[in-house]
């Protein structure tokens, strides 16, 4: 069963389309990475799913309800980002205690042990925390709610590398023990890709790619070869990226529906395209690469 079902969801801010008839389904108890460039609509989609923002049109069901203004959805989900803040009158421990009063699955023990591990005094005030520590606290809060739908929007902003990897480890461990539906958006796909079951790539407010992580990893293939031969060979195919290497060789990135033996016969060399590179190539298609900026006059 799917935890989230979006059908033709549109969100307009003024005249700008943040989401453009986006449709997607997220299965229950899975970790999905929401990936895309800045301004692609990731945050907008996540806020609509969490019921914080209302869609302009389209249909959206979260845990069987329409999320906007739904107490049911609010009670069963948590939305964590780096904007989330708490007043100065509450210490970190106070905030955790408030969480305990609200959330039925609240994990007080886990939350306090994580704070201790990340060296955050319980008597600190949230707004005095550094940016990285704020993100860390918010992430701990999100984990502790153990909500059936847990949404992290760029949760690691400002965290240093070791805290980031600790957080992802904590997230995975808690997920293994208590499966739930988790959405994580991130610019750093390579950091989260091992955690993920699915990748949802959003571009220009639309679903560009929604696949299992391993399928994204093998979605594209890079091919080197002599320019005339290679150009002739890719004529019928969609080229995601193209670069000349010297005078005689060319490198292209195409979809991975090719027989390796055929390529070898033609003398082409192949290269695997990682998940994060695949996401870049798929979304870069419309404008070509950075090289074009310098070559076209």
């Amino acid at each position: 069963m799917e935890a989230i079902k979006c059908t033709n969801v549109v969100k307009k801010y003024g005249g700008r389309l943040a989401l453009d008839h986006l449709s997607t389904e997220i299965p229950t108890n899975s970790i999905t990475g929401i990936v895309g460039r800045n301004g692609a609509g990731k945050t907008t989609l996540l806020k609509i799913i969490a019921g914080l923002t209302r869609e302009t049109s389209g249909d959206i069901q979260v845990l069987g309800a329409h999320p906007f203004n739904s107490l049911q959805v609010s009670a069963n989900s948590i939305f964590i980002d780096d904007v989330l803040s708490f007043p100065n009158t509450l210490t970190l421990l106070d905030i955790l205690k408030e969480g305990e009063r609200f959330y039925p699955n609240w994990q007080m023990d886990l939350a306090r042990r994580l704070l201790e591990y990340f060296e955050m005094p319980e008597q600190m005030v949230h707004s005095y925390l550094s940016k990285g520590k704020k993100s860390t606290f918010n992430a701990v809060f999100g984990l502790a709610t153990r909500s059936p739908l847990t949404i992290f929007d760029e949760p690691t902003t400002g965290m240093d590398a070791s805290v980031r990897s600790d957080f992802y480890r904590a997230l995975l461990k808690d997920y293994l023990a208590h499966p739930r539906t988790i959405l994580i958006s991130s610019h750093h796909v390579d950091e989260i890709e091992d955690l993920l079951e699915y990748v949802l790539l959003i571009d220009l407010g639309k679903t560009k790619l929604h696949k299992e992580i391993d399928d994204v990893r093998s979605f594209l293939i890079g091919i080197y070869g002599r320019t005339e031969l290679l150009e002739h060979w890719v004529k019928e195919r969609e080229v995601y990226y193209r670069r000349r290497i010297g005078d005689t060789e060319t490198y292209v990135v195409i979809e991975n529906h090719v027989e390796k033996e055929e390529l070898e016969k033609l003398g082409f060399k192949t290269e695997a395209i990682s998940c994060s590179d695949a996401c870049v190539y798929v979304t870069n298609q419309r404008k070509g690469g950075i090289d074009d900026v310098f070559t076209r006059r």
Binding site: L63, N69, I78, P87, T89, R180
Partner: protein, 245 residues
């Protein structure tokens, strides 16, 4: 993990408790407003000098009530500030829960403010009689318990109305950014225009009808209806607002 059932009023109550704790700093504001009011009140609201060396000073707590009303308007707007909303929705909430818990919180604040006004009033009497060194005429104007209760309730009702006005303004300004600009203009404009209209007797009739009724119960009923209407409209208008743009 299955979806949990939701108990509406227990969530409203939890949100109220959260707001009570989170907004304790606003009570400092109340103290500051009342101290300012007290300082202004020491000057007396009016004095008579009959030329024979005898001076009458009139001390009233009007200013204390007015300053407390302003404070309630301010916190009515303040409780809706974005930081508060982020906190509210990081716990469990929807618009209805948010507004109801805000309103309950404002009513409790009104209660606290009423008690604070009474205490400030006592303080004012003590200080003035001590410092003026003259004879206080106060003991001769003893109030009966009934009159005292009616007086306290009247103050409380005025304060409640102020908080409802503040809250309504707060929702209005969230509803449309322009309102934020217009609120001060509206207030200043009202200050300039109302006195004229008062002298022309246009507004004064409406005002006396609602707020200066001779019968306390009728007065109370009217204020409660206006307050309820303001809160109701706030909830209706706020129900479609987005938490985060």
């Amino acid at each position: 993990m299955s979806s949990q059932g939701v108990k509406f009023w227990s969530i409203v109550w939890n949100q109220f408790l959260l707001k009570l704790k989170a907004n304790t700093d606003m009570l400092t504001g109340l103290a500051i407003f009342q101290v300012i009011a007290l300082i202004f009140s020491f000057g007396g609201n009016g004095s008579f000098n009959y030329g024979s060396g005898v001076e009458f000073n009139i001390y009233t707590s009007d200013l204390i009530v007015i300053f407390t009303m302003i404070w309630l308007i301010v916190i009515g707007v303040q409780v809706l500030r974005p930081a508060g909303a982020l906190m509210t929705y990081s716990m469990i909430a929807n618009r209805k829960v948010d507004h109801l818990s805000n309103i309950i919180w404002l009513i409790v604040m009104t209660g606290i403010a009423t008690v604070a006004v009474l205490l400030a009033n006592v303080l004012l009497q003590l200080i003035t009689s001590y410092f003026s060194g003259g004879v206080s005429l106060l003991p001769e104007v003893q109030l009966s318990i009934g009159e005292y209760v009616v007086g306290v309730c009247t103050i409380g009702l005025y304060l409640l109305l102020a908080s409802a006005c503040g809250y309504f303004l707060g929702v209005l300004s969230q509803w449309n950014e322009l309102v934020k600009v217009f609120i001060p203009i509206l207030l200043i404009g009202a200050l300039l225009i109302v006195p004229n209209m008062v002298s022309e007797g246009v507004i004064i009739n409406v005002f006396t009808f609602i707020f200066l009724d001779e019968l306390f119960l009728l007065f109370a009923l009217k204020i409660l209806i206006v307050t309820g209407l303001l809160f109701f409209m706030s909830m209706r208008m706020g129900n479609r607002l987005e938490v985060r743009k």
